[in-house]
């Protein structure tokens, strides 16, 4: 088909500009234009560099030109990041200015000045670029309806980041609100390539739903770092390959090194500086750094003023850094989508492949890296699981609705269940959430004279906010992102960023630690400020950040299992890996793709049970705890367990004889509640729930609560509530959150359902090669701080290796 002849975009107002730039329209842009023109809601899937942003704006711009001097808000563009929103404005500015089109556009985020926000409300631009939180705020104003009643399009950028979290829930509710205000509203979603495209469509589209997809035929070039050093048995810091990583940086004009945690980022950065003989310009970027520091790094990156940036997921999304030549991923990829997203940060030209190097930090990670490369070749992406919406977000939404004016609860309920995450929201739960906002929703009615919203006497279905002051509280609490309690770090008068309070609590005056790439000495803590000075100390701690440990994706886990079983591939691996696997096969067994290997062996009068589930960290952590309980019941006297992404190891004083009897679905049903209780997982999530649902306040002007105080009082509330009202909606909500997010309940259930028939039990006389990495983790975790000296670790490692009779492999 000759696209040009039938291309309606040749008549589009932007066509002139495209021609001037010598660009031509992509097929997916034409397709999207046609669908939207004929009234469809559309999700567009395309890789970076395929003109995604422009695709979203084609119909709005066409429409605005046709309508001539349209007054008021016409199109809303939702971006996941503030920084991205600013970038969109810059991109939109170019064609609109160069063609002198009569279209106004502005950005509105948390960084927009109150004056500007006020002006926007009085005289809205045609196109407003904003974030989900700012949209929620706009919807909470009394004049929201007039503001949005002519809205024609809503564009959701990077919609794949919005599908499986509470932010998505918040956004979905607000989109439905816009649809109520403006029934003709059309929805356009822009997404990176996804496996389950239908799910994204279901989430967003209502009118004649359509999917437009553009697959890039140029595959990225990804390889594993070829190292002369041996890959360590365990650990996550890649110290072994630091010199080789440095060489790779020197070879490319601009490199981003992605790591998995903020601690790794600091560590990698420090180690690179230690060997930086060529005085390369190396920077570090992660979410805890002060905004200005981050912006500076981003700026230098886009101008090509640095040679290398060490980053966490903080740089995964965001601006196009056209000059990035190479990506180095240090540590396990964890998931295909995630790796692709990271790899895609290099080289935004569609026709040349992105280049990436993977650096496994231990032996299992080598297999994982290899598997990830295979899957990317096959274009086998991870599925993003849509989740049922969380209750606390609905509560916040009810509060927002009340701020905008009196409302009918039946209408609100009908609107909410149109949103995909809340299709199954029960009326009864919804009413409990109304009560939660009204007065905490307790059975004991003590707060009748203090309600926040109240029913009108003449119509019990209509609720109203008691006073205007409450709207301010809502606005202070909007959003679903709850940070861990953080403290600001000050070097002199300069703020360096935020650090988790838990980490600081463990420091004494004079201790040094690494932050923002500098060695700092802890001096004092006052009024939530951590005062530090520069230090020359060589011994320093790395701050830990509890959040964000991502489990290995199911998809990649399956691929790791399959690859492990392919013994004909082994000879292609570095010799230490090959020997490791061969030895394992000889001493024990390599599990087949669908088998679950269980190894048992004694060591120093203690009995070890290692279970290779490949279920990801969350699920393994849960399973470890459940098994501990199960072992106790059988009187095996268990002492503890350690879990990682691949396996669990438990140790006990007595030999575990009935593993097959214990390891099954019954285990989950029997002990799950205990697990949630004892590990205080629900308690921690309750804090988020209490803040998101506005039961307790995040902060109020004049009474700035520290994160600590919020955590503290939410713990007390949890305890009192649990005792007196175990069926309270917020407890139910926290419990559901735990099941969905923290313990990988569904994944574990799937595994346990079929595990008993597929267990391969190996009774060994000593530790197996495959078990060495996880056994080493036991010792690492159980050592007291002073002992974590590398020498001792080395010593321990050798001892264990000798025992496993695998020392000869090195």
């Amino acid at each position: 088909m000759n696209i040009n002849k039938s291309n309606p975009l040749l008549l589009h107002p932007l066509n002139k500009w495209m021609k001037k730039k010598k660009w031509s329209w992509f097929p997916h842009q034409i397709e999207t234009f046609n669908y939207v023109r004929t009234g469809s809601d559309v999700v567009v899937f395309a890789p970076t560099g395929a003109g995604k942003t422009l695709t979203g704006f084609i119909n709005p711009i066409d429409d605005l030109i046709k309508l001539k001097k349209f007054k008021g808000l016409h199109t809303l563009y939702i971006s996941p990041l503030k920084s991205l929103a600013n970038d969109i404005v810059r991109n939109l500015e170019k064609p609109i200015k160069e063609l002198d089109l009569n279209i106004s556009f502005q950005v509105r985020t948390g960084d927009t000045t109150p004056y500007k926000k006020q002006k926007q409300k009085q005289k809205p631009p045609n196109i407003l670029i904003t974030t989900p939180e700012s949209l929620a705020l706009l919807n909470s104003y009394e004049n929201a309806k007039e503001f949005f009643h002519n809205l024609k399009y809503i564009i959701i950028d990077e919609i794949h980041t919005f599908l499986d979290n509470k932010r998505a829930d918040l956004l979905s509710l607000n989109i439905e609100r816009l649809q109520t205000f403006s029934p003709n509203l059309q929805r356009i979603g822009l997404s990176a390539t996804l496996k389950n495209k239908q799910d994204a469509k279901k989430w967003l589209c209502r009118k004649k739903p359509k999917i437009v997809s553009y697959e890039n035929s140029v595959l990225p070039k990804i390889k594993i770092l070829e190292s002369k050093e041996r890959i360590p048995w365990s650990g996550h810091m890649a110290t072994y390959s630091i010199n080789e990583i440095y060489k790779e940086i020197m070879k490319s004009k601009l490199t981003i090194i992605f790591v998995n945690t903020r601690a790794q980022a600091e560590y990698m950065f420090k180690n690179l500086w230690l060997i930086n003989k060529k005085k390369l310009k190396i920077a570090v970027h992660h979410g805890s750094l002060e905004k200005n520091l981050r912006l500076k790094v981003e700026n230098n990156l886009s101008k090509g003023l640095v040679d290398c940036v060490v980053a966490t997921s903080s740089l995964e999304l965001g601006l196009d850094y056209g000059d990035v030549e190479k990506i180095i991923q240090v540590g396990a990829p964890k998931g295909i989508n995630r790796l692709l997203q990271r790899v895609g940060r290099s080289n935004h030209n569609l026709n040349t492949p992105s280049k990436a190097i993977l650096v496994p930090t231990n032996r299992f990670e080598f297999i994982e890296a290899k598997a990830a490369i295979e899957e990317i070749k096959k274009n086998n992406l991870d599925k993003i699981d849509l989740k049922e919406g969380s209750f606390d977000v609905v509560a916040q939404h009810i509060f927002a609705t009340a701020c905008a004016g009196q409302f009918n609860i039946n209408d609100l309920y009908k609107e909410i269940i149109k949103a995909y995450p809340y299709k199954k929201l029960k009326l009864n739960d919804f009413k409990q959430l109304i009560n939660l906002i009204q007065d905490g929703g307790y059975v004991l009615k003590n707060y009748d004279q203090f309600k926040r919203i109240f029913q009108l006497r003449e119509n019990k279905n209509i609720y109203k906010l008691v006073n205007k002051r409450e709207t301010r509280k809502y606005r202070m609490n909007v959003g679903t992102i709850i940070e861990n309690p953080m403290l600001k770090i000050k070097l002199g008068t300069k703020t360096l960023g935020n650090i988790e309070e838990v980490f600081i609590q463990n420091l004494s005056q004079g201790d040094s630690f690494i932050f923002a790439g500098q060695v700092l000495e802890f001096q004092s803590m006052k009024n939530n400020l951590v005062q530090v000075k520069r230090s020359k100390s060589l011994i320093s701690k790395i701050p830990s950040y509890s959040g964000g440990r991502m489990p290995l994706s199911t998809n990649l886990a399956n691929s790791v299992r399959a690859l492990l079983a392919k013994s004909n591939m082994w000879d292609l691996y570095p010799v230490q890996i090959t020997e490791w696997l061969k030895r394992q096969k000889y001493i024990s067994k390599i599990p087949k793709k669908d088998e679950y290997l269980v190894e048992q062996f004694p060591r120093k009068k203690i009995f070890y049970t290692v279970i290779y589930t490949f279920a990801g960290w969350h699920a393994n952590q849960t399973l470890g705890f459940l098994l501990l309980r199960g072992f106790k019941e059988f009187n095996y006297k268990p002492l503890g367990f350690v879990a990682n992404d691949y396996a669990i190891v438990l140790w006990s004083l007595k030999e575990v004889k009935e593993i097959k009897t214990i390891l099954n679905l019954g285990l989950l049903d029997k002990h799950l509640d205990n697990y949630l209780e004892e590990t205080s997982i629900v308690k921690r999530l309750f804090r988020d729930n209490a803040i998101i649902s506005c039961l307790i306040e995040r902060r109020l002007p004049g009474m700035e609560k520290t994160g600590k105080q919020v955590l503290f009082s939410s713990d007390l509330i949890y305890t009192v509530l649990k005792k007196n009202e175990p069926d309270h909606i917020l407890l139910k909500s926290s419990y559901e959150d735990a099941k969905k997010n923290m313990i990988d309940y569904d994944r574990l259930r799937e595994i346990l359902k079929k595990i008993d028939k597929k267990i391969i039990l190996k009774k060994l006389t000593s530790i197996s090669p495959l078990a060495v990495p996880i056994i080493l983790e036991i010792n690492r975790e159980n050592l007291s701080k002073k002992e974590t000296d590398e020498y001792i670790l080395e010593d321990l490692e050798n001892e264990i290796l000798k025992e496993a009779n695998v020392l000869s492999i090195n």
Binding site: D439, G440, G441, Y442, L444, N446, Y447, F450, R452, E470, K473, V502, Q505, N506, L695, I696, E697, Q709, F712, S713, L716, I717, V720, L721, K723, N724, E725, H728, S784, K785
Partner: protein
Amino acid sequence: MYYQLINFGNEEFHAYPNKSLYWKRLNTLIVSDLHIGKSISYAKNKQFLPPYDTKEILNKIFVSLDNIKPSNLIVVGDLLHDVFSTLSIKDQDYKNLSQYMKNTDFIWIKGNHDKNIQIEGFKNFTNYKIEKFLFTHIPIETSLFQICGHYHPKVKISHRGKTIFKTCFVHNEKIFILPSFGILTGGLDIHSKQISDVLGKKNLSIYPVGHDKVYKL
């Protein structure tokens, strides 16, 4: 109930895990900072904490009174959170209180939260002297041994790489500070400036309160 023996001012006291202190020789039970009605006071500002604190605190007191049958109950301040707090005390609770008052003297040292509030049957004092001991909400200049409240002391314990905060009884040679008997009450680190100004930093005896045991550090 298990208790921890504490020697203070050459007298023996029993510290209970429910955060009360018992002076056996004089058959006197001492509690502090109950903050009854904190939840209802917060509800005024639309912070809807679970409204069960008053009931729970009173029940805790009643259980203690039943077990110990003291001649005196001394509250060293902040029995109530504020003037609204009485709203959360039900008629039945008042009836129970007056029953207990038949056998026990209720002595209420006024704290900063409950200065101008009255409950029938309580004997109100700004401070109260028994032998060489002075019961007061906040310590004052005196040569007497003082037993007080107000600070809700907690202690930070770091062990094996983990840090926990625990409510505690704490005293130096002359001043004893009780933990808060309340349910929704927070706490203050004993090494914070506010408490250090009163107790100093050295020679502290610290008794963290565990689930069903009071420990000694």
